[in-house]
């Protein structure tokens, strides 16, 4: 069974169809890239899966359980981790505290008034930071980190809730080109090692074709192609609606 199964997903804004009848699935340990021109419906799709938007119709299931109608908070609780296009971390806290808080929240102990934060899930936090290569910077304040490192912290925070699905919205946006491959390699390694399904959007085609197992392409709210990077690359329709215009056949 797929980890994430999306079926017939549709959404319209004031009569304009943003997403219509999109279906796809992501398996455990698989990296699926969602690409397409601006306004193709990628963000709308993403926001329906993460709970910020309610779909007009269609189903979204995580390991057989529906996510439709749940708040982002509950969706996290059901096993979905996220990274944001512009990193969202707790700037006033240290790297370690960011991860500790996510672990506490996963254990539903984030409301405790009487325990001490210092000792909570210390080993687990260090293990996660080790995995993303941020163990040495555990004591640094998040607001002072380099952007690339912030992305790694975000990854560790997302992994702290032991997700079965990881949603990454433009994971390499805002990063220097040289750092991008490294971050994706890290994410891919973790996903495959922990059997996490990964769905990501991305504009950098080197990232998409270098790291995705499969690619889906949206245009005008519809799914127009799906397949391996090589297949999608060769697809005439993709070439016509996405970059490069009608050049392949001109």
């Amino acid at each position: 069974m797929s980890v994430l199964a999306v079926n017939g997903l549709s959404k319209a804004f004031g009569g304009v169809r943003a997403v219509s009848g999109v279906s796809f699935a992501v398996d455990a340990g698989e990296l699926l890239a969602m690409i397409g021109p601006n306004g193709a419906g990628k963000s709308t799709c993403f926001n329906m899966i993460n709970g910020q938007l309610a779909p007009d119709s269609g189903s979204i299931e995580l390991e057989g359980k529906s996510l439709v109608g749940k708040a982002p908070r509950e969706i996290c609780r059901s096993g979905v981790g996220r990274t944001f296009q512009v990193t969202a971390t707790f700037g006033s806290m240290t790297v370690r505290e960011n991860v500790q808080l996510a672990l506490l929240s996963h254990a539903r102990a984030q409301g405790s008034l009487f325990s001490s934060m210092e000792e909570s899930f210390l080993d687990e936090a260090h293990k996660l930071l080790q995995q993303v290569g941020m163990r040495e910077q555990a004591d640094r304040q998040c607001a002072l980190l380099a952007y690339g490192d912030l992305k790694r912290v975000e990854l560790a925070v997302a992994l702290a809730s032991r997700p079965r699905l990881l949603l990454m919205d433009e994971p390499t946006a805002g990063m220097a080109p040289a750092e991008r491959g490294a971050l994706m390699q890290l994410a891919a390694g973790l996903a495959r090692g922990e059997k996490i399904a990964v769905l990501f959007t991305e504009h950098d085609m080197d990232v998409v074709f270098g790291h995705a197992d499969r690619v889906i392409v949206l245009a005008d709210g519809e799914l127009i192609a799906e397949g391996s990077p090589t297949e999608v690359r060769a697809n005439a329709q993709v070439r016509s609606v996405y970059l490069g215009g009608e050049y392949g056949d001109a």
Partner: protein, 233 residues
């Protein structure tokens, strides 16, 4: 006319532009090509001053723009049409035009609501409609018309063909060619080479926030390897 020299810019600490060089020459239509997320919008916003650049120089008509406010840059004759159009939805068509109005400028065509309604007959028919109740194509025309009310010498268009029906695309393309005839310099960003080819004399391709090609549209057309490398999937 407009030149970006080794500009670094971004949002917060996320960097989008890396030492970007870019040039718009007098009287030309230049297309800024590149994929989604390559930095096209960021480059235009940095030029109009909506985003302050971390480093580098931005020069317009021999004046440095770096420390100027957007309104000062606009008053120098550089107009901006944003990607999401940003029509004042509560204002009528005529009121939207009024917001853009600036005094007549020497060496630039002078625009009046009448003249703009001739350029965009649709607008003339809906002078008192509220911006929020217009279609995407109509909004796009309005936002261009609104920018022209400032009597600019150069205009930046961020993905002007985005999400428009083919008929409207042709309409807008025709408008851009007319603007060029009137003597305006036009820099437009575009993802789709097909649309760029409708209007542009020259192409600049940016990828990951850097300029990676600048040359005539014809040269780009004649070089499939180049297109394959930067523009094809």
């Amino acid at each position: 006319m407009l030149e970006l020299r080794r500009v670094n810019a971004g949002y917060g600490r996320a960097r989008i532009l890396f030492d970007l060089d870019l040039e718009l020459r007098r009287g030309e239509v230049a297309a800024l090509l590149g994929r989604n997320g390559a930095g096209k919008t960021t480059a235009l916003k940095a030029a109009i001053g909506l985003l302050s650049s971390f480093s580098g120089k931005i020069i317009f008509n021999n004046r440095e723009l770096n420390n100027l406010q957007p309104y000062q840059i606009a008053r120098l004759g550089l107009a901006y049409v944003p990607e999401d159009r940003r029509i004042f939805t509560d204002l009528t068509v005529m009121e939207n035009l009024e917001v853009g109005r600036q005094p007549r400028r020497a060496g630039a065509p002078h625009w009046t609501p009448q003249k703009l309604c001739e350029l965009f007959p649709n607008l003339g028919r809906m002078r008192d409609r509220r911006g929020g109740s217009m279609s995407g194509g109509e909004q796009q025309m309005l936002t261009i018309a609104r920018a022209l009310m400032g009597n600019p010498v150069a205009i930046l268009l961020d993905e002007p063909f985005e999400g428009l029906a083919p008929l409207i695309v042709d309409r807008i393309a025709k408008t851009i060619r007319e603007l060029k005839r009137e003597g305006l310099s036009v820099l437009l960003s575009e993802q789709n080479l097909r649309f760029a080819r409708l209007v542009a004399d020259r192409a600049c391709i940016i990828e990951k926030g850097r300029l990676c090609y600048a040359g005539t549209m014809a040269a780009l057309d004649a070089d499939p390897a180049l297109r394959e490398r930067y523009l094809s999937v």
